[in-house]
């Protein structure tokens, strides 16, 4: 297990480095003077020169990159050109909100996705199975922002059950979490169904049935535990994808998370914050994946010897 863990961690490092290169390159490839981009549109000449000096923008690219990496390691991502706050401070105040939303979404996705997948697998090709599968396809095909708007229109504007936007109480979380979790719910339902179907056709289930076990006992005790193993991976990957999906959902519901921060910063050409949010989302995604791999290696030892 230790060897497997170390190997996985080693594989994650080049990705983190790659992400840093891309984030570093964003400002350098964007049209215009990098110092001007980092200082903001309305910065005066002195500020621009200060930024140029601070990030070493006159120096060769590899020196600049080294400075950037050192800065990131020390938690220095520059200053927001809009708010004049440290980027790390902005990220620290917005990121927990995104985590909250993503956790809510994954909860919704699991709550409905897994039971739907199990029930569909127990009666393959039944009307219920068909409904779940079609529902899942509609779920992945529906534009998140459209579903969010419809949800606001029906449940907030018409029925008044939930607040229209913002963050605060649990009622604020309901619609954004369902909206964000919708496609994950669909994917989890499909994965649970196919995994369950596969397990239900295996010998040990046949043995259990032959020994006289019927109904729920077989499903819950024997099949489900095995069927959920691949679902764990999907859940992990989905959690990472939700961090990116939050970009749209947060904009729809004016949720003060990192996704909305990213979009607002792109619109305002606030490059330091854009860099910081992209870096944070991508690195979180890498670590979530790493964690999922480790958990997967733990519950299914065959993976470790791949």
């Amino acid at each position: 297990m230790l060897q497997y863990t170390l190997r996985r961690i080693l594989i994650a490092f080049p990705s983190v480095l790659g992400v840093m290169i891309i984030v570093f390159a964003m400002v350098r490839f964007a049209p215009g003077d990098p110092a001007q981009l980092l200082a903001g549109e309305f910065a005066d000449r002195a500020t621009i020169e200060l930024i140029r000096e601070r990030f070493g923008l006159n120096e060769p690219q590899h020196v600049q990159f080294y400075r950037f990496v050192v800065g990131v390691a020390q938690g220095d991502l520059g200053m927001s050109t809009r708010t004049n706050r440290a980027v790390t401070a902005d990220l620290a105040s917005y990121f927990p909100n995104t985590i909250e939303l993503a956790l809510g979404a994954i909860f919704v996705a699991l709550l409905f996705g897994i039971p739907a997948g199990i029930l569909a697998a127990l009666r393959p090709n039944s009307p219920f199975d068909l409904a779940v599968m079609i529902g899942a396809l509609i779920g992945v095909s529906m534009p998140v922002f459209w579903f969010g708007l419809l949800a606001i229109l029906i449940f907030s504007v018409q029925l008044g059950w939930f607040p229209v936007a913002g963050r605060g109480t649990l009622t604020h979380l309901v619609l954004p979490a369902i909206t964000l979790g919708l496609s994950s719910m669909a994917i989890i339902a499909r994965m649970t169904r196919s995994s369950m179907l596969e397990v239900l056709n295996q010998d040990f289930i046949r043995t259990a049935r032959a020994k006289g076990l019927f109904g729920r006992g077989v499903v819950m005790k024997h099949a489900l535990r095995n069927a959920l193993v691949p679902v764990v991976t999907v859940v992990g990957l989905q959690f990472g994808a939700l961090l990116a999906g939050a970009v749209i959902t947060e904009t729809v519901f004016s949720w003060p998370g990192i996704g909305r921060l990213l979009v607002d910063s792109i619109r305002a050409r606030d490059y330091p914050v854009v860099q910081g949010s992209v870096l944070l989302i991508a690195v979180s995604f890498i670590f979530v994946n790493l964690f999922v791999d480790l958990v997967y290696g733990f519950i299914d030892p065959r993976i470790r010897y791949e």
Partner: protein, 365 residues
């Protein structure tokens, strides 16, 4: 053919070629596909979408950009009657105006019939090659018929939706072209050659895959600027790692098969073996992925449009239209509803086809 290193006679590599199975499942996959009702439904949706793309100006009753500030936010179906002034059957429309103070007003004293194949304003299509003023349907008279209502600038929503179809279509195709054009060779070479090349390509793919979902496209748009062209490129590049990983996996499965070894034994060059014997045998997942990619690309592009990072006004891009409708959701919900429905149906069509193609091409998947 005759460029084999060992100078083998030209006939032999051909013989090696005939060892390779033709297409993954032969013509049977087509029958399987057509027998699947889900696939047929998907194809009907896509076919309808293609017709709309091809015949947009003929199908759209009005220009997508023509404004009329006296008819903003007209809800669908207002002023439309199924009986004419003399009690005759047909679709008749009364002139409708809307002002912030007086609201929607229908002038019942005037009515004009809706007819098929009417002459409207002149349109050009296919870069000016086709010019006409014929439209599938329209009002025989000076009144306007807003089947799906109007938006915040009084533009006909149906016409905008119809004219927006090609944008989605085009984004999807360009994205597939970029994804296949870069991702397939990268993945194939990486998987086939292995070793150091594989290492490097894999690390690049891993890095790109660290940007989940729409994030990579957002990063590219944030770097190179917004606008439709950049969105197409961004969505395309975002699909490169997916193709590359997919093809690499398939190539790894195929590369040790007998027919590949036979080609190598006969002295065929490695890259030529890859092109002639390996890639044709990993086409099935590429085709499946392309159908699904079409769906993803349309969703991503609409998402970028919605975020204000994609197409710019007054382009009738569906995501952008939805974003505009969002601001007036309580007043005119139809403005956001119809573009969303359009996106969903087209995406659903490609997802259904992709799923069905996967079942048909490789029942084991």
């Amino acid at each position: 053919m005759s460029e084999s290193k060992t100078g083998a006679p030209t006939a032999q590599p051909n013989a090696a070629g005939s060892v390779a199975p033709r297409s993954p499942a032969g013509p049977r996959w087509r029958r399987r596909l057509l027998r699947n009702p889900v696939a047929v439904f998907g194809m009907i949706v896509i076919g309808f979408f293609l017709l709309v793309v091809l015949f947009a100006p003929f199908l759209a009753p009005y220009s997508p950009t023509e404004q009329n500030l006296r008819t903003t936010y007209v809800p669908p179906g207002v002023g439309v009657k199924l009986r004419g002034p003399d009690g005759q059957w047909g679709i008749w429309v009364h002139p409708v105006t809307r002002s912030p103070t007086a609201g929607v007003r229908v002038d019942e004293s005037v009515a004009h019939p809706v007819r098929l194949f009417v002459r409207g304003t002149q349109w050009t299509w296919f870069f000016g090659l086709i010019k006409s003023d014929l439209r599938l349907f329209g009002v025989d008279g000076p009144t306007r018929f807003y089947l799906l209502g109007t938006d915040e600038q009084g533009r006909d929503l149906l016409s905008r939706l119809i004219h927006g179809a090609w944008i989605s279509m085009f984004i999807g195709l360009i994205s597939i072209a970029i994804g296949v054009g870069i991702g397939v060779p990268a993945g194939a070479i990486s998987g086939f050659l292995g070793g150091g090349t594989d290492m490097v390509v894999q690390r690049v793919i891993d890095t790109l895959l660290a940007f989940p979902g729409i994030l990579l496209a957002i990063v590219l748009v944030a770097t190179f600027g917004t606008g439709l062209t950049n969105v197409m490129i961004a969505v395309g590049v975002a699909s490169v790692p997916i193709y590359a990983r997919l093809v690499r996996g398939s190539v790894l499965q195929v590369k040790n098969r007998e027919y590949v070894e036979a080609a190598a034994a006969l002295g065929r060059r490695r890259l030529s073996t890859l092109g002639r014997h390996v890639i044709p045998n990993v086409m099935a997942p590429i085709i499946v992925q392309s159908s699904l990619q079409m769906a993803t690309a349309i969703l991503f592009a609409a998402g970028l449009g919605f975020l204000g990072l994609g197409a710019r006004p007054p382009q009738p891009e569906w995501g952008l239209m939805l974003a505009r409708g969002r601001e007036y959701l309580a007043v005119a919900p139809h403005v956001a509803t119809f573009p969303g429905l359009a996106i969903m149906f087209v995406v659903l069509g490609f997802n259904l086809l992709g799923d069905a193609l996967r079942d048909a091409l490789d029942p084991r998947m």
